[in-house]
Subunit: 173 residues, 2 copies
C-alpha cells in the first residue's frame, strides 16, 4: 500500500474561509475568496494584517472550520486504498492541538488516531505522495508532491496541482 | 547534519517513575523500580492492571513527570550536533498533547516547536538514528536503532542498547 500524506489547513479544512469569517466578525467586512488570490496568506485582506496573523492563536479558530468541499467523501475512499496520514504543522499554535483532534473526530471519524501527525516541520515525515497547500512543506518531501489550490499558492507552478477534491479523487482513486 | 529522533516517555521522561507514583497514590503501595524489570509495561505491578492502563488518560500524568536523569544536559548538547526531533506517540492520549507541550517547554526550553512531533504511529517519521524504549517504534524505522533501557524492555536483545543518558552521550557526542 502506498503512503499518502494529507495536510489539514486549506487542504481538508477550509482555513481561508475561516480567516474570512474571523475578519468579518472583527472588522465588519466580508472579503471575497477571489480577492485573496495570488497573495501571501493574510496579505490579501484590505488591512489589519498584524491582527489577522493572530487569528490562528485564538480559541475556536481551528475547531469551527468547515471541511473543504468533497474532502470527507474522497478522503474516506482514499483511506481504503492508501496508507493515509493526516499531517498538520500544528505545533506553532499550541491550542490547535486539541481543537484539531476534536475536529478530525467530528468530520473524519473513520480515521484512527494512529493516522494523525501533529508536527512542527514536515521534513521529518516520509511517504510516497504528499498533498499540501504550502510549497515549503512539499519542498522537503521525499515522494511525489501535489500542491492543493488555495488563494495564496495559485501563482506557484513548480508542483503538480490539484485544484479541488474532485481532481484529487480522479488522480488517486 | 544527521537527523536524530528521540522519544519522550521512558526516554527523556520518567514514565516508569510516574506509574509508580500514581500506583502508590491510588493503592498505598510503593513498588520498586527493580520489581518491574523484564515485565510488560504495567504488568510488573502486583495487581489492579486494568486501572494502571488508565493512568495515562488521567490529567497531570504527563505534565508532572520528572525528566530522566541526565536527559536535559545531554539532549541540549545533542541539539547542537544533530538535527534533533522529539517524536512522541501522543495521539493515543488526547489530553497528553497540551501536557507534553508544556512539559517540553518547562524541561527542554532550548527546543523549538519545529522539532516536536506528536504522532500515532512512528512509521511515518524517518531519520538517521532513533532512540526509543519500545521495539515496535524502532522496528519500522529506516535508520540506525537504539533501544533505551526501561524495565519493560530489558529482555530485548535485537537492538543496540543505551542504558542511560550517560551512555547516550558517549555514543552520540
Amino acid at each position: 500500500m502506498k503512503r499518502l500524506i494529507v495536510d489539514m489547513d486549506d487542504v481538508i479544512a477550509d482555513a481561508t474561509g475561516q480567516f474570512i469569517n474571523f475578519y468579518e466578525r472583527e472588522f465588519g467586512v466580508r472579503v471575497t475568496r477571489e480577492s485573496l488570490n495570488h497573495q501571501e496568506e493574510g496579505l490579501g485582506f484590505p488591512n489589519h494584517h498584524d491582527i489577522i496573523q493572530q487569528f490562528p492563536f485564538r480559541e475556536t479558530f481551528f475547531q469551527t472550520m468547515q471541511p473543504n468541499e468533497g474532502s470527507q467523501e474522497i478522503v474516506e475512499k482514499l483511506n481504503k486504498k492508501y496508507e493515509l496520514y493526516i499531517v498538520s504543522a500544528a505545533l506553532e499554535f499550541p491550542q490547535s492541538l486539541s481543537e484539531k483532534l476534536k475536529w478530525l473526530g467530528e468530520h473524519f471519524p473513520f480515521l484512527h488516531w494512529k493516522q494523525i501527525v501533529f508536527c512542527g516541520s514536515k521534513a521529518v515525515v516520509h511517504g510516497d505522495y504528499m498533498i499540501d497547500d504550502l510549497p515549503y512543506n512539499l519542498e522537503t518531501f521525499n515522494g511525489e508532491k501535489f500542491i492543493f489550490s488555495a488563494p495564496h499558492n495559485l501563482h506557484i507552478n513548480t508542483f503538480q496541482r490539484l485544484n479541488n477534491w474532485k481532481e484529487a479523487g480522479e488522480r488517486f482513486l
